[in-house]
Structures are given as structure tokens and as C-alpha cells.
Symmetry: C2
Subunit: 157 residues, 2 copies
């Protein structure tokens, strides 16, 4: 099949990675209407949906759902971390040290922190990244340390 | 202001919670078009977008983004865990032991596993939940252990 793919195609295999290797994403702005749309569907709480009531919340004003920050961060990681056959994560520790607000511009810095070749399956390994999402002030709004399946280069390629 | 809120209003304060307390959500089906729409916006990878190519992926068929499972799980948690002033999470460990597929029906079981009153701020505490997202076969597709700010009942209420 030949068609224009909407997704980036990665090229890095397990043997191309090293501890400390870094990847930097482009920037993406979080728009107010998208913040409310996401929250309305997936995180319908007053501090994500109503400016007036949000002023009395812990955030002090309308804030994006942490899951919206996570989803946008994933988009930026998919574009900037070019692992062959994509990013399939088993999970990891996630935290939101600061909230994201409408109008903020996010970018993601990803760094390879662990590389563990599989003992039972010689065609792959598990790589741990440290992915920091920063806002336009350079403040960290999310840290996620996913464990990702990374493939070795096929012998016949 | 009086208007119909689209969000649930919680009533439980820190002193209403106990270790082992459980909350069970309703069920929600993951539809194919929503799976593709979410992935197209936030996780544009071939195994989330193209049935034919997904057959050759680790998933074996088109699978939902883990962040879509997380977002839908949040919706179910917001509806089923009625903490006063809502659910504001600082983060936690998340894992996806199995993929979610279009047509799957998810529900979330949440359990209180830790209650830590704040030493510096007497009006609140930090509560850790264990939130398991299950599919229609009873298989665990996500485990998330969020740390959530929970408020004490105001003395004047």
C-alpha cells in the first residue's frame, strides 16, 4: 500500500541508542477551546470548564486537565522520538509539578536514561526515557518516565 | 450563579475516607471512531489509526492509545469518586498491562490505599488511590495510583 501517512516514521533501533541521548520536540500552544473540549469529554470538573468557578479552586484560574497535558506531550514525543516501529509504552511514573493554562506553549525534552536488552527475546529491549514537558517560561509542567519497547535492527535489513 | 453543571459534585472530605474504601464506576464503551479521532490528534501512530498496518504491529490489530484509556478512565473516576471540590492529582505510577481495543467496555474500580493528613496545612491531606481499569472480560488494562489532594470539612459548614 502506498499512501501519505499522517504519522512520522522512525528509524532508530536499540543499537542506535545510548544513555544521555536527547530529543527535543517542537512547540505547541494549548488553546482555550481545546482545553474545554478535552475536559468536557474526559475530565469534566469545574476548574477545567468554568472560568468564574475556577478562580475559587486550587489552580486560581481555569487550568487544563493533566491528561490533556499528557496527551499533547505524547503528540510531541511521537513527532520527536523517532524509534523504529513507533512508541509503545508499558507505563511509567507521571507527575504534574505545575498546571498548564490556556495559552501556554508546551515542548517536550526526552532523554534516554536506561537501556535493558531483553534476555528472553533477542529482537528487542526495554528503554526508559525521562520526558519533561516545559511551558513557555521553562517551568516543568509534567515529568513522565515511560518504559518503551525498542526493536533491534533486523539482520536482513 | 445558578445553572445546570455538567460535572458531578462530590461530598466526601478527608475525615470521611478510610483505607480499603472502594468506588465503582459505570461502564463505557470505546468506539472505533473515537479511538481514531483521539489517536489522530494526540498519538498518531499506525497501530492506532490503520487496521491493515496495525495487524503487523505488536498489538496484532488496531488498538487504542494508552492515553485514550487513561482519559476515559479519568472520566469514569470523576463520576464515581465523589471527593468534595473534585479530583486534583499530583501524579502517580501508571501502567497498561493490556491494550484496549475498539468495542471494549471499560469500568474503573478505585480503592483508598493511603491517607496522609498534611502536617503543614491542617485543611487538607494527600490520599493515594489504586485505580484499576477493567475491560468486559475482567482483564486489567490500566493501573493508576494517583496522589490526590483531599480537603477536610470546613469547621463552619
Amino acid at each position: 500500500m502506498t499512501f501519505e501517512r499522517p504519522w512520522p516514521k522512525g528509524h532508530l533501533h536499540l543499537e542506535d541508542l545510548s544513555i544521555g541521548q536527547r530529543f527535543e520536540s517542537r512547540e505547541q500552544r494549548m488553546e482555550l477551546d481545546e482545553v474545554k473540549e478535552f475536559a468536557g469529554r474526559y475530565d469534566p470538573q469545574f476548574f477545567h470548564l468554568d472560568e468564574e468557578e475556577a478562580a475559587g479552586s486550587l489552580f486560581g484560574r481555569l487550568a487544563a486537565s493533566g491528561w490533556h497535558t499528557a496527551a499533547n506531550s505524547m503528540r510531541l514525543m511521537v513527532e520527536s522520538v523517532p524509534f523504529a516501529r513507533g512508541l509503545i509504552g508499558a507505563g511509567g511514573e507521571i507527575s504534574w509539578p505545575k498546571a498548564t493554562f490556556p495559552g501556554d506553549t508546551l515542548r517536550v525534552l526526552s532523554e534516554v536514561v536506561e537501556i535493558a536488552p531483553s534476555r528472553s527475546r533477542p529482537d528487542r529491549g526495554m528503554v526508559t526515557l525521562k520526558c519533561q514537558t516545559l511551558n513557555q517560561h521553562g517551568e516543568i509542567v509534567q515529568v513522565f518516565n515511560p518504559r518503551i519497547v525498542v526493536w533491534r535492527r533486523p539482520a536482513t535489513e
